[in-house]
Symmetry: C3
Subunit: 194 residues, 3 copies
């Protein structure tokens, strides 16, 4: 018992030293201070290991379920949920999946209210290329989001979003359009808009 205690105590000390060393390195090199595991594990390596496209990165604190495919040069932030368990989740190139974004292809509403008798609802989700999903937004099962879309932070997306749309809110409403491409791309909000 005291051996176990000494060993775990030693591990605790070594973890603290490891955290301090890695934190000092990240602050020096990138001016960042990250949660232990996000600092410890390489986000580019994780993306490669998951078969995602070149230039894509994904933080350790992203939870993946089922069939998730991601293109190139997409940034996937910390505290995210990518659920492809209900029919597949596909995300294109050059997307920002901001911190705290949850994308679901299933929900357990009927499972819960039926006391476990009914099954989960399922529906695949597709997100085109060059789309921005703002922090803490939730995308529910069955939704298709086009290319060059902007989803404002803290939105709930529960219907399809055409290419080039700017939407926001809970549930998300149309706010404007993305016009132009590349160096010419710009955000045009509806005049009545927020």
């Amino acid at each position: 018992m005291s051996d176990i205690s000494d060993t775990t105590s030693d591990l605790s000390t070594q973890l603290r030293l490891l955290k301090e060393a890695r934190d000092a390195e990240l602050r020096e090199t990138y001016q960042r201070s990250l949660p232990f595991a996000d600092a410890q594990f390489d986000r580019w390596e994780r993306a490669r290991s998951l078969g995602f496209g070149e230039g894509t990165s994904i933080y350790d604190s992203s939870a993946l379920f089922g069939d998730v495919a991601v293109g190139k040069n997409t940034w996937i932030g910390p505290f995210t949920v990518l659920d492809g368990s209900g029919g597949g989740l596909t995300i294109g190139d050059y997307c920002s999946i901001s911190a705290g974004v949850h994308i679901y292809t299933h929900d357990t509403v009927l499972w819960a209210v039926s006391g476990g008798v009914q099954q989960a609802r399922k529906g695949r989700v597709v997100i085109g290329s060059n789309s921005y999903i703002g922090a803490q937004s939730v995308i529910v099962a069955g939704v298709t989001i086009g290319s060059r879309c902007v989803i404002a932070a803290n939105s709930l997306v529960n219907r399809d979003v055409p290419d080039g749309s700017i939407i926001g809110g809970t549930p998300a409403r149309h706010l404007g359009r993305v016009e132009g491409e590349g160096a010419e791309a710009r955000l045009v909000y509806d005049s009545k808009g927020a």
Copy 2:
């Protein structure tokens, strides 16, 4: 110093190997890729250790404060906060506490605006059985949520919710009713609905 450095460097390598081994195992068995600690620690075992009911599971990345009681067959997702520090939090059977849900029995609003002079506000929270709390929703101190309720994702719940209600939004409003039970349970939205 170089000894410490060698030891921490070795620990770093071993953690990476452990993460890779566990990740490969989870992907093979469950098609999941989880944050390090969520992958490492068993969520059924944590629920048992906390005295929760049989069949309940809780991810490592759930933060618990104070007096929290949970029934049977309830799913508690990652990145959740269950705060029973302000008078107790009780959750029934067959609930879905989706990822990112925060449930509070206290807030520090008056503590902050008074510069630390006033105390936290407190109030117990009760959630009945067979209720679904959607991802990223926040339930504030003092609220009672009935049985067979559906709280849409990304909602703020700041008042009591009667049995069988469907609500959503910030703050959450009435959207419809859950009718029937078990295999007959179904969602009926108000005709003016979302």
Copy 3:
């Protein structure tokens, strides 16, 4: 290979024992059960190491980017994002930065919709003293929040907030005023209010 496997398996066991020991200690002393790294690493020590003011604490599961300055006696919760990479983030004394709050000084909207051609938008954020930021709220780049402000949980803050304001929603709207100071501080909601 079997050596590596034995070593990682041993590390896995030791991590489990360490988690159980630390969890038992936190439950006994503070009636808390925290995610592995939030339990393992001291939040007061992290705040000191980041140069934050006396009495301030910050959980391990808070992700910091760039230039972040925080005053005294401020509480920074788990699952938070403090981004000072776009021009600096400054937070005063006696603030509550609730769990799940994200504060940004940059966004990658134009980077994404332009396919990586355009740069991130940037803008510094300042939060005065004695302000409360509710759980899961998002504050976007360029915003100034005054002192003695209350931001309701689950809000999106995309414009400046004068001293003593109560706001909430997505996007956040005026809900009332904080009147008085210290022991006299109280919340006064607009009569039409929620």
